[in-house]
């Protein structure tokens, strides 16, 4: 499996660390909403199909990436920087994904 890092280009999956479901929303640190914290810590979407997930290029530039990947075919549909919650960080990222 190759993941196209917006900085580094296409790299082997062994350079990346999987950080799981990218749909989860972390409550504000001061939040006392137990349901929201439980959902953040324990609930996963786990679809059979396109999955929005976070990877870190830990063996490369160390950027956190938002990756859309199909869990049945392992095809990678898009990659972008995860920061700011943007779907794609710049045109380069979109061009390569």
């Amino acid at each position: 499996m190759l993941i196209t890092c917006p900085y580094c280009g296409p790299r082997d999956v062994i350079e990346f660390t999987y950080q799981g479901d990218g749909n989860r929303e972390r409550p504000q640190p001061a939040s006392q909403d137990l349901d929201a914290w439980n959902a953040y810590v324990y609930d996963r979407l786990n679809p059979a199909g396109d999955h929005n997930e976070i990877w870190q290029h830990s063996g490369g530039c160390r950027a956190h990436l938002r990756v859309v990947r199909n869990t049945i075919t392992h095809e990678i549909l898009s990659t972008a920087f995860a920061r700011g919650g943007h779907k794609s960080a710049d045109n380069r990222a979109e061009g390569r994904s």
Binding site: A39, D43, R44, P47, E53, H74
Partner: protein, 419 residues
Amino acid sequence: MAEYSAFSLLKNALAGNKDWKPAWRKPDPKASYDVIVIGGGGHGLSTAYYLAREHGITNVAVLEKGWLGSGNVGRNTTAVRSNYLLPQNTRFYEHSMKLWENLSHDLNYNVMFSQRGCLNLAHTPAQLDDYARRGNAMRHLGVDAELMSVEQIKRLVPALDVSGSARFPVLGGLMQPRAGTARHDAVAWGYARGADRRGVDIIENCEVTGFLRDGGRITGVSTTRGEIRAKKVALAVAGSTGHVMQLAGISHMPIESHVLQAFVSESLKPVIDTVLTFGMGHFYISQSDKGGLVYGGDLDGYNSYAQRGSLPIVDEVMSEMLALFPGLARVRMLRSWGGLCDMTMDGSPIITTGPLPGMYLNCGWCYGGFKATPASGWCFAYTIAKDEPHEFNAPFTLDRFYRGLIIDDKGQGANPRLH
């Protein structure tokens, strides 16, 4: 009289083996049942078997989307053990072990359960202390466990590199002598025949595509072979749990589906006569009765429904094997394959009523589903029949995650790929 016996073998041999009945029928689905079990794997079939045998509920259908035994029951590395630390897990898996010990007789089907022991290797003093603690916890609950010295291990597994110059020198190990292996296909076929002979309909090539409802209550399923109604609908779909729950309108679960690979080598003369696990990585190995080494390691590490893995894990598993057994370097790998693991947030399973009215849920088996097959079906059948859990599966609720009652044997936290 038993269907399979020395007498029936002889009789059928003389008659040219023309009179054997198929181990299970191929019925068309009826319009309704008392219980539908979704998933014709080990757990679904054992659930149907124990529903019929223990609770007299025989108007049951088992729905399998492919052919029987095509999922994890035919894809695992066949180890059976009950060497857990936490009492909830120990009690449940020890109940399973006791069912295993009598399973071939109970089913009148040889599942080739071989109690050759399971040895966890320790490579650091701290790890050996941890194993001593786990062994004591097991013995406290009546489970067998022995701490082994390097000299004992050397006698037991001569091929293992126990020298001080090994990459990770072996300092000792924790042995469960009653652990072992079983022939996984026979487990599926034995439970299938046992259920079938008691009246259960096993329906293959029947994929569930949706749920029928009456108000909030689940009243049946729509399938590729039509609608089927039932008073109770039980899920035992392992790696497909997330997908099937989404069909029922439940989008989020404390589960991720991951792919786990397994490997078998060419046949060798006997070299390892126990189940051995590596303590400085994640690797386990045993030798099948045919002579092939059966081994595996970690998950690929990302969500997957693909039932196939990638090469980095192949490389890692082979490296781990050679760290333990340098002498196996030239053994050729025969086959590799992948299966889906329904990884929970604490590494322990879920066997419960609900979460919807009319629904019963059995999932979250992580790596450990095969050894649990008898107790999983036994407890799930009890839960379905009585509408409440047995004390063995009472801790394995779905809401434990939200009530602070997680059962995390490894102490890993809510990171499924690390359990």
